[in-house]
């Protein structure tokens, strides 16, 4: 923002306000438009999936022994006699009110269920991305600075293995080694059986809740349970983040201004961190946002391995028991977050990188 203002002031004649405001307004209108179209597309896909599913939603509610009149009544109540387009509009209306229907399994509103399980996924993915960034960014920078050295090779192999490894299998092996053989970490689940529901749920993030309650025993136990799945997710984001950091850094380090800075006698540390790294921050943040979105999704398989009661476990359990509303509700929520993070990283790029204009 400030950059554009500076540019305008440097001009001999100040541009009229409308001329200045128009591109910004246009960009935000376009962005808003594209967001809504993408979201509409997402909802349309889930709607279609819900309609072609080989499960009769009426039978699921009334049961097999209901009379024809009951069946017809529920059929009409669900709006299934209306044209598809009208049904889609009903669906949009419901989703806008965060109404995903009721779960067929426990007869509770799906939105309540999702609100209950989502913090678990959020906690796991957030800790994962923290690991990924804290280890991945320095590794990528080092690999670029010492290109071709052993550390570059290590980073390369780590990334290659990360890209090729089935995450659920690595999780199983982690459980086998660190829980089964070494006993260093807690097993599956969020906390041990003696610590369930000990601290009051304020944020839904058990580490934060334990801290708020001042209960160190719960915190330690929860930490020993989350550390393995979180480092696993962290490893997968590290693979991606370190590779991207490396290639961004290489691009900067070969630029002429770096040579100039070195000729001026600037210390290598300053050259790397104050010049080169400063210039890749925006690109890096977009990469991190994308990889965070991927972690939220990638946690589906991890959650199953670690019996983690998050949204991934929720969707899969619902899937296997043909709980259609729960599957679609979960899909919409994950899709929404994924899309919003994508758009957020896009916007960030546009706002902070003057070249993107």
């Amino acid at each position: 923002m400030s950059l554009t203002d500076d540019n305008n002031q440097r001009r001999p004649r100040r541009a009229p306000l409308s001329e200045k405001a128009w591109p910004l307004a246009k960009t935000s209108m376009l962005t808003l438009g594209s967001i809504s179209v993408t979201l509409l597309g997402l909802l349309f896909i889930t709607f279609i999936i819900g309609r072609v599913m080989p499960i009769d939603p009426v039978l699921a509610i009334v049961g097999e022994r209901a009379s024809q009149s009951t069946y017809d009544a529920v059929y009409q109540q669900l709006g299934l006699d209306k044209p598809l387009l009208v049904q889609f509009l009903y669906y949009l209306w419901d989703v806008l009110h965060l109404d995903f229907g009721t779960s067929l399994l426990n007869a509770r509103p799906v939105s309540e269920d999702i609100a209950r399980v989502f913090p678990a996924t959020l906690e796991l993915a957030t800790l994962g991305i923290i690991f990924g960034v804290v280890l991945g960014v320095p590794l990528g920078v080092l690999a670029a600075v010492r290109k071709g050295s052993w550390i570059d090779q290590v980073a390369r192999v780590l990334a290659l293995v990360g890209y090729s490894m089935p995450i659920f299998w690595l999780g199983l092996m982690g459980l086998l080694v660190f829980y089964g053989i070494l006993g260093w970490v807690g097993g599956p689940g969020r906390v041990g059986i003696f610590y369930v529901d000990v601290v009051p749920s304020v944020t839904g993030l058990i580490l934060v809740d334990a801290l708020l309650d001042g209960n160190w025993a719960v915190f330690k136990d929860a930490f020993s349970h989350i550390i393995l799945p979180a480092s696993l997710l962290g490893y997968f984001s590290l693979a991606y983040i370190s590779r991207m950091t490396r290639s961004f850094m290489l691009e900067q380090l070969s630029a002429e201004y770096i040579t100039t800075a070195r000729v001026k006698g600037m210390s290598e540390w300053d050259v790397i961190w104050k010049h080169a790294f400063k210039n890749i921050r925006v690109q890096l943040i977009t990469v991190i946002a994308l990889s965070y979105a991927n972690l939220l999704e990638g946690s589906v398989l991890t959650e199953i391995i670690f019996s983690w009661p998050g949204i991934g476990s929720y969707i899969t359990t619902a899937l296997l028991s043909a709980d259609m509303n729960a599957v679609l509700g979960g899909t919409v929520v994950v899709g929404l977050i994924f899309i919003l993070l994508n758009i957020f990283s896009d916007l960030l790029y546009k706002v902070f990188d003057p070249r993107a204009k």
């Binding site: 086998l176 089964g180 589906v300 398989l301």
Partner: protein, 303 residues
Amino acid sequence: MADTQTWRQWLLTETPTSRRHAKISAIYQGWLSFRSNTMAMIGLGILVLLVFVAFAAPLLAPHDPFVQDLGNRLAPLGTDGHIFGTDSLGRDILSRLIYGARITLYIVALVALIAPVAGLLVGTVSGYVGGWVDTILMRITDIFLAFPRLVLALAFVAALGAGIENAVLAISLTAWPPYARIARAETLTIRSSDYISAIKLQGAGPLRIITKHIWPLCISSLIVRVTLDMAGIILAAAGLGFLGLGAQPPSPEWGAMISEGRRFILDYWWVATMPGLAIFTVSLAFNLLGDGLRDVLDPKAGE
């Protein structure tokens, strides 16, 4: 000896005598530069081995992969006759891995056929026709691109029903958008080139231009992308199998085998470990091969 010399010279000549000669020579030079990449050659070797194992499965497998032997359940590694041990129904793990190679190849081949072709169609039409067709097609592509892939595949499989074919369909449905993007970008650069104008003047219609002149030029970047995506496809298929949404039992699909071994991972670790190693090896091989191919076919994209 002298004969091979002349072959080499013929292949490496700088004055090719015909178009086909020039083409073969170019392929040979690409092969030479690919061959110098050790890691890529290792990847290629593993994949050739995989194809061989898949085709010769009945000859190589020491046991029938479906025959149960409940008296010999969960035999450890290195048991006589069962070098990788047996699973919870006494089936030989090595034989199941060997037959599983067929399923993996089948899935990869199908997805590699469907997704890039769909992407190529959408991308070239979008790029060549332009205008509102381009806007609509690219909007649809963006929507699919913005969608979380695994969750979308899960929802598709839920709608279509579990099974290998549906898993292939679900993975393809989530895999085509990047190909469409690539094909469109290539088309846009090719469309405005002089030779396209030249054949237009000669009376070539859009269909002919797209199929005969644009598609061949998109192929190489698509091949690189497909090879690099193979690892992801294998992992996605294994993930669906692991969740019980891909291949159904008793099929020896590697992901499903891991899921089965998961129940007793702490006591009988090899049941889940061996198929995981197989998945890892194959997807690593595809990644190595893809990196090597990228260096040969698309030198700009490398670092």
